[in-house]
Symmetry: none
Subunit: 202 residues, 4 copies
Amino acid sequence: MPRKPNTDCRRAEIITALQAVIARQGYEKASIQAIAKEAGLAPGLIHYHFKNKQEILVLLVRKLADYGQQRFEQIAAQAGSPEARLHAYLEARLGLGEGAAPDAVAAWVMIGAEAVRQKEVRDIYQQAVAQELLLLTALLGECLIAQGSDAGKAAELAAGLLAMMAGAYQLSSSAGSVMPVGYAAHAAKTYARLYLDAVPTA
Amino acid sequence: MPRKPNTDCRRAEIITALQAVIARQGYEKASIQAIAKEAGLAPGLIHYHFKNKQEILVLLVRKLADYGQQRFEQIAAQAGSPEARLHAYLEARLGLGEGAAPDAVAAWVMIGAEAVRQKEVRDIYQQAVAQELLLLTALLGECLIAQGSDAGKAAELAAGLLAMMAGAYQLSSSAGSVMPVGYAAHAAKTYARLYLDAVPTA
Amino acid sequence: MPRKPNTDCRRAEIITALQAVIARQGYEKASIQAIAKEAGLAPGLIHYHFKNKQEILVLLVRKLADYGQQRFEQIAAQAGSPEARLHAYLEARLGLGEGAAPDAVAAWVMIGAEAVRQKEVRDIYQQAVAQELLLLTALLGECLIAQGSDAGKAAELAAGLLAMMAGAYQLSSSAGSVMPVGYAAHAAKTYARLYLDAVPTA
Amino acid sequence: MPRKPNTDCRRAEIITALQAVIARQGYEKASIQAIAKEAGLAPGLIHYHFKNKQEILVLLVRKLADYGQQRFEQIAAQAGSPEARLHAYLEARLGLGEGAAPDAVAAWVMIGAEAVRQKEVRDIYQQAVAQELLLLTALLGECLIAQGSDAGKAAELAAGLLAMMAGAYQLSSSAGSVMPVGYAAHAAKTYARLYLDAVPTA
DNA sequence: CATGAATGAGCTTTCATTCAT
DNA sequence: GATGAATGAAAGCTCATTCAT
């Protein structure tokens, strides 16, 4: 009587545990022991399910990147004007950045640092950034078209907004107490609004 | 004939070496061996000049924070309109962020991640962020007053700009190749310009 | 099939190994390598079973103190006169001090030196000394009462005997060859006998 | 104009500094840096005056042993009865052991532990112990002869008294607070008095 | 699948000793 | 004589990884 395989769920548990530990400790200090403890598993089991620590990290990066992507798809699927979608997007990203899922945000910040030194992480991280940039550009492009403007300026604004988002994540994790409360979503919306308004209609 | 102390210069060398290594490897992977090699010194000498690794980090954080502060003071000392000073400031910060001193920028990004997990680093980091926020707020306040507006909105804009700057640093270090070239300084100036223009004159 | 834990026995082995090494080398020179070698284990395993070296020491001190306590209880449980118990006690302590368990004696001497500089060791050591003093005082008190004297003088004699015992341990470990053979148990018994006889009966 | 050599006084300063540090820290933890700091000298100077750390230790052991010897000679030089000399001796040794020169006593205790593991130290330590034993035996022999008894029993009593003294030193350094105040000199005198009285006159 | 003991490399840190000045 | 920088070998400790059970 073979056991029912539970590999998939164990793997997910372990990845989630790494997310929690990495958010507190960073990747280097996220020891296998600590991950196992967080997941409530025996240390030896980690290497049964994963070849090595790096593999868990890679899958966590993918998971977090996909999570953002899914959120966008939900938003995109929503009915409503381009501008409504943009607001929903920024709210989803930056409302979250300020307390909603500090775990995921801090983990993402740590991964950003890890991306500086590990090519494998950097590749996935850059892919996620590029994708996000594309999505945001598309979203802004729709807004511009909806107001009868040329969509060409969307890329520039998207880059600025993405930087603002990345910075808001970083600062909320490391210096949240010295920043104004809840500034980020509002600042991003204002920036977008002013910028879009400034693009001349065709 | 007593030997002439050279501690100050050695300490500076070691701090600079840590900056270089931390920019490539992060703090955890910046081993004493690696720092010593970077500085061209024997490993044991590091601990002759510093109590421990943490002390070097703390001094590096201070040095980088002071560096930014000094740059601002140079700018502030320059003659010119508030707006000219603002532009000079953003150029100094973000021109730098895009290639001028990648070493310092990457080190600062790594330190931001370290700040998430180490209280001692976090405290200094937050102090630096708070200081930067004050400077930027003051700078923007002058701009608003110069155009006959109320300075009250300066803090909000300052927070948004600071986030954009932090994000630009982060992305330039970890995903520079997927971002548009030289977007950051321009995006920040545009954001500031549009925002300031939108504040009604008294 | 979970693996059966063997931590308790491994810990005991390691503590015993420390006792052997400390008896030869003292605590500072009892390196983890040396302890591991003595126990026939890999060095890394020591820190799997113990948080740090200090923890092993503390447990060794406790073990040795308890060992003395148990010996006393065996003696106290024996039938016989107070004086017989006293003789058995001194024989147990000082016969031991002169060859019976040189390992434990030398380790105890080294621990006494360590107690001078480490508060944590000192606390346990003092507790053991205080306990021994109480036991000896009680034992002597019974002797005095048995001969119809006041038990008040017991404390003074107990202190003197304890010092003689501690000194005999010290000298047997560091200068055994220059002391008369087997003097200690006899000297202690003589001291006790003369002292007790000198206390007036009520 | 040649400098006046101050080697002898420097060496004495360094030896005294080792005594102070060893009393607090033990020999292993008495680093050259710590000794130099205690003596108010530059670290490099230590090895100018001494071949190595061991040499300082050896000289300290000699110094402490000689110190005891000198004290005895002063006593021996005093006029008075053998018994008066014995009392003066015990007072000198054990009054000292209970607070008068805790520095020297603690250092001696540490050296006793070091003697267990270092042959070179052990040799000097044993020599000092043997010498002390001889002195004490002689002193007690005089007392016995003065009372018309045979001096043969002196050695046995001397050994017991020496152990009591060594133990009093050990306990005053490591567990002074749990022992009765000032017990040692009195206990030793009582022990000697009772023992001497019990030896039959010829 | 699961457990937890075991291994050994690598880290930070301490320190006796040497040596240029 | 004197200074203090410099060296390199060890120490304690952490940890990814392996493996017997």
